[in-house]
């Protein structure tokens, strides 16, 4: 048993690298998209606000698995052919983007209105108000839940195994298919996911404390 698992370790490591790569892509892409759309939701014209609101509420209202199948099987049906890896990343990114939008909305809403009025009063442009007044303050409200949400991205990435992508989850299932050592391998997998996510959540707690004592 032990030798079979040792033999499988390089294969599992490759799967783990895919898990990390998917998570990293999803976290980065959703951060960019989420911040852009979030600014649209807060400051944009009414039609844009409505569109972002509907996007975010719809995406957050359905299981991530349904969204994933929708994107994966639905895009080719309407003539858009993406490699399965990118379809999976796209679906997870859409889901995460909706979360980032809500973190940003919450963070900006927590900044007192007087800050933005004061910035307007001293004649700052919209862009200056955002980059020098609102965002620096909103940032520390945004950071802890966002880092906490990174663990969701790592956990969510396990779903790409259902689309035939050999991430850690799929690698474990394949090794079990060969060795029939289900229990030890699932436990090993759980420990790996746990180690990564627990480290991330410790980091987020530390940051939360680090940012907690800065007062406005």
């Amino acid at each position: 048993m032990a030798s079979q698992i040792l033999y499988a370790l390089p294969f599992l490591a490759k799967g783990f690298a895919v898990t990390l790569w998917v998570s990293l892509l999803v976290v980065t892409l959703s951060l960019v998209a989420g911040v852009l759309l979030g600014v649209g939701l807060i400051y944009g014209p009414a039609p844009l606000r409505w569109a972002v609101r509907i996007f975010s509420d719809t995406i957050r209202g359905i299981p991530i698995l349904v969204l994933m199948f929708f994107v994966y099987y639905g895009l080719p049906a309407i003539g858009l052919h993406l490699p399965s890896f990118w379809a999976a990343v796209l679906a997870l990114t859409l889901f995460k983007t909706a979360q980032v939008i809500e973190y940003l909305r919450g963070a900006v809403a927590s900044i007192p209105k007087g800050q933005s009025e004061a910035a307007m009063a001293i004649g700052l442009t919209f862009r200056q108000r955002l980059t020098s007044v609102i965002f620096p303050q909103a940032f520390r409200r945004f950071l802890p839940p966002w880092i906490n949400g990174v663990t969701d991205a790592v956990k969510g990435s396990a779903l790409v195994s259902l689309l035939g992508i050999t991430d850690l989850m799929q690698a474990i299932n394949q090794v079990i298919g060969r060795t029939y050592e289900a229990m030890p391998l699932y436990i090993l997998g759980a420990l790996i996911y746990f180690a990564v996510n627990y480290a991330l959540s410790l980091a987020s707690r530390r940051l939360e404390r680090r940012f907690a004592f800065i007062r406005e």
Partner: protein, 221 residues
């Protein structure tokens, strides 16, 4: 787009989706009920326990919360029966998994609620001569529930959505029904549009109901 929507095949197989939705709700309700018991018992135990018990409960919570649900579902369905002499169906296996999973999330919700109960309320309970048990039932738990209701609603709805993971062990719930129609009729866009609408609508109805409960309890001060 070059894709003509045609919902006929979806309506012909709608029983797969409707039956699936009912099963999703059933899985969610049973798991949440068991999870709530686990969560309440462990949370009450946690706040009054010594260091060792606390560490064990914290380990359970942290472990479950940091591992993907899909892995836990596989572990319970394919892994556990290989080491213990137990046989259970896929739905039972999933309910078991989601109960333990929701228990971990609910311990956290209840624990923070218990810690938010004002000290003065407990002292007042003590002052009028309530026993510790009476203080728990009549003072701590009701106050804690009122504090945690909004967080509880969100957790319940998110657990309802998590029932979609049951499809990976072929439990015929809503997501599984959608996949069945996807693979057998190839009306892909239509089936996922309908499924999306069904999840959204159910989620909103649940949320609406839970908000009513919240308001009902907030009024009773």
């Amino acid at each position: 787009m070059g894709y003509a929507l045609n919902f006929n095949l979806i309506w012909r197989h709608f029983d797969k989706l409707w039956g699936g939705l009912l099963l999703s709700l059933e899985l969610a309700v049973i798991s949440i009920a068991i999870g709530t018991v686990i969560g309440l018992v462990l949370a009450v135990w946690y706040v009054s326990a010594g260091r060792v018990v606390r560490a064990i409960i914290a380990a359970y919570v942290e472990f479950i919360r940091n591992v993907p649900l899909i892995l836990l579902v596989y572990l319970v369905f394919y892994g556990v029966p290989t080491v213990v002499d137990l046989a259970y169906s896929a739905p039972t296996s999933f309910v078991l998994t989601l109960s333990v999973y929701s228990g971990a999330y609910l311990v956290e919700v209840f624990r923070s609620g218990l810690e938010a109960v004002p000290r003065g309320q407990l002292d007042a309970g003590k002052a009028i001569g309530l026993t510790p048990w009476q203080r728990l039932i009549h003072v701590r738990l009701p106050t804690m529930l009122r504090i945690t209701l909004p967080a509880l609603s969100n957790t319940f709805i998110s657990l309802f959505k998590d029932t979609s993971i049951a499809s990976v062990i072929s439990v015929p719930e809503l997501t599984f029904g959608a996949q069945w129609i996807n693979f057998n009729t190839f009306r892909i866009v239509e089936v996922y549009l309908v499924t999306t609408a069904m999840y959204l609508l159910t989620g909103y109805i649940l949320l609406f109901g839970l908000r009513l409960v919240e308001r009902r309890f907030r009024a009773a001060r």
